[in-house]
Amino acid sequence: MDSILGWIQTHIEMIYIVILSIFLGIEVIGRVPSVLHTPLMSGANAIHGVVIIGAIIVMGKVEPGNYAALIIGFLAVVLGTLNVVGGFVVTDRMLEMFRKKK
């Protein structure tokens, strides 16, 4: 029990962020017209690519001799970058088409 309360205590700011972000996420998306659902899904997909930051931190902290961790970390960085770059570019391509009129 104490450990749970302690954990909440040390992470209280993070927990606030989580709760507010949940409402914010729902609020922001709630008004999207169905026309934009696919680009939106793709854009959201690119945004959760922010996990790349975790991969970079993990990679940067590995001791240079630890090859197993280096390789796994490298893979994580590559996959995370794919998610970010691919996600944003695909979304941009979709939205570019919406802009062309006439």
């Binding site: 104490d2 450990s3 992470h11 993070m14 989580v18 914010l24 996420g25 729902i26 922001v28 998306i29 008004r31 017209p33 026309v35 934009l36 659902h37 696919t38 680009p39 939106l40 899904m41 854009g43 959201a44 997909n45 690119a46 945004i47 959760h48 690519g49 922010v50 996990v51 790349i52 930051i53 975790g54 970079i56 931190i57 993990v58 940067g60 240079p64 197993a68 961790a69 970390g73 490298f74 893979l75 994580a76 960085v77 590559v78 970058t81 794919l82 970010v84 770059v85 691919g86 996600g87 695909v90 941009d92 391509r93 979709m94 939205l95 570019e96 088409m97 919406f98 802009r99 009129k101």
Partner: protein, 472 residues
């Protein structure tokens, strides 16, 4: 200095994500919104690389980091630039899987870092909290990765639907086993049982596969959207792990938005999420096609008659569906539209919310073919106009125009909002055959006296129509 600057970078990142998502909700600002979020992401990434420090120690292994970034960027750019518009959903699924795998791999490494503490039996309560986020990141990330790969395979036709008896029960059992296993491991972790962590990882992958396998291909958009929000949550776990606000905001925003989007998609199909996930609708009901009492005679129309019919109409509404997407006929469709407009016919498109492979997908496809944005009408708008319409041309759509959704309470699609095309004077339906659509039910519309069938592949039929109208 460095660290406080990094905090500002993260703040900028978080704010751009929020504003970006908001701007994505309007057609005029959507593109800038996406670019804004991308810019914020870039700032956050480079801030992390150059400014991050832990207990005064900067990050190392720059060659590895930049190598990974460059390799990922090149592959990502190529894949995203080359993909066809019709293949967009599976591309999103693929990228989503990459993010999930990334989150899971982070957990694997972080767990490795704790291994020596575990071996020495020196775990404190703080470590338990860290372990909890590591476990969550691993499980959610792995499920999302495996599930996305299956969804990707299903959408491009490489993987068939597969279900065995009692699969749902087995899945629930497996999920329960994973969660209990994780809980047990968290409580008792020591030098002798920490290898179980990897068993947990493997079990999560298996669960991801079994979770998506029985769900029909047409339901994949819902599944991808759901897995998208899973990956968001997995990324947020990383936020807890590193006390990193930008990962947390980004992850949770996507988690919440993705969940809502999933529900919206289900709503448009008039089904509950549970029904999509547990019901394995696509697999079970399409086999036992419900015989409506509508059966009877339908009449066919020749290309020439259809061409005349449309060329001399005042107003034509085109209803594009899945069949148009599959036949990749969006360009020819636009050609037909221009041809008819030259003849003075008013042409618009009626888009059902779930037309195509995911909500909004049809709009993307038509936009690719340069169809003007203001020609696309949403369902409510279109339903007001069918009554004054001479000809409705249905291209590979079926369930979204089935009147049974309004009239037959016994129908599985009863209650789903549909395009009320039967109000128009004439309806021409282009389909490859009389086979029922995705919901596996007959469509009474096809047997109505004002309806004529134009059989054939959408692209071929449209090409013939175009050349026919040209010669009129």
């Amino acid at each position: 200095m460095g660290l406080s600057l990094l905090t500002v970078c993260y703040l900028i990142g978080s704010v751009t994500f929020i504003i970006g998502l908001k701007m994505l909700s309007h057609p005029e600002t959507a593109r800038r919104g996406n670019l804004l979020a991308a810019a914020g992401m870039t700032i956050a990434i480079f801030g992390t690389i150059f400014l991050y420090e832990e207990e005064g120690v900067r990050l190392g292994n720059y060659p590895w980091i930049f190598g990974g970034l460059i390799l990922g960027t090149v592959i990502g750019l190529l894949a995203a630039k080359k993909v066809k518009m019709t293949a967009m959903p599976e591309m999103v699924s693929l990228f989503n899987g990459m993010g999930g795998a990334c989150a899971a791999l982070i957990s694997v490494i972080e767990f490795g870092h704790l291994a020596h503490l575990i071996n020495a039996g020196n775990l404190t309560d703080i470590h338990k909290g860290t372990l909890l986020t590591i476990f969550l990141g691993l499980i959610i990330g792995a499920v999302s990765f495996a599930g996305s790969m299956i969804a990707w395979g299903k959408l491009n036709g490489r993987i068939r639907d597969f279900a065995f008896k009692g699969q749902q029960v087995f899945n629930l059992f497996l999920l329960a086993a994973i969660l209990t296993g994780a809980g047990y491991l968290l409580m008792t972790l020591n030098g002798s049982n920490y290898a179980l962590f990897y068993v947990l990882a493997a079990a999560s992958l298996v669960y991801g596969v079994l979770f998506v396998l029985p769900i029909g291909g047409a339901d994949m958009p819902v599944v991808i959207s759901l897995l998208n929000s899973f990956t968001g949550v997995a990324a947020a776990c990383g936020g807890f792990l590193y006390d990193n606000q930008v990962m947390l905001t980004g992850g949770i925003l996507v988690g919440a938005a993705g969940t809502l989007l999933t529900i919206l998609m289900c709503k448009a199909m008039n089904r509950s999420l549970t029904n999509v996930l547990i019901g394995s609708f696509g697999g079970s009901t399409s086999g036992t096609a419900v015989k409506g009492d509508a059966g009877g005679v339908y009449k066919e129309i020749s290309i020439a008659d259809a061409a005349v019919c449309m060329a001399y109409a005042h107003k034509v509404i085109i209803v594009p569906g899945y069949g148009l997407a599959v036949a990749q006929a969006q360009h020819v469709c636009h050609e037909l539209e221009k041809m008819l407009e030259d003849k003075g016919v008013e042409v618009t498109y009626a888009i059902h919310p779930v037309a195509g492979r995911m909500p909004g997908h049809m709009n993307v496809l038509l936009a690719e073919a340069d169809v003007s944005y203001d020609k696309l009408q949403e369902m409510e708008q279109a339903n007001d106009q069918f009554r004054n319409t001479d000809v409705v041309l249905i291209l590979g759509a079926n369930d979204v125009v089935n009147p049974a959704a309004k009239t037959d309470p016994a129908s599985p699609i009863y209650g789903m909002p549909i395009l009320e095309v039967e109000q128009a004077k004439t309806v021409i339906v282009n389909k490859r055959s009389m086979k029922p659509g995705y919901a596996g039910i007959e469509n009474a519309l096809f047997f109505q006296p004002k309806t004529s069938m134009l059989f054939g592949d959408a692209k071929a039929a449209l090409q013939q129509l175009v050349s026919e109208i040209k010669s009129l």
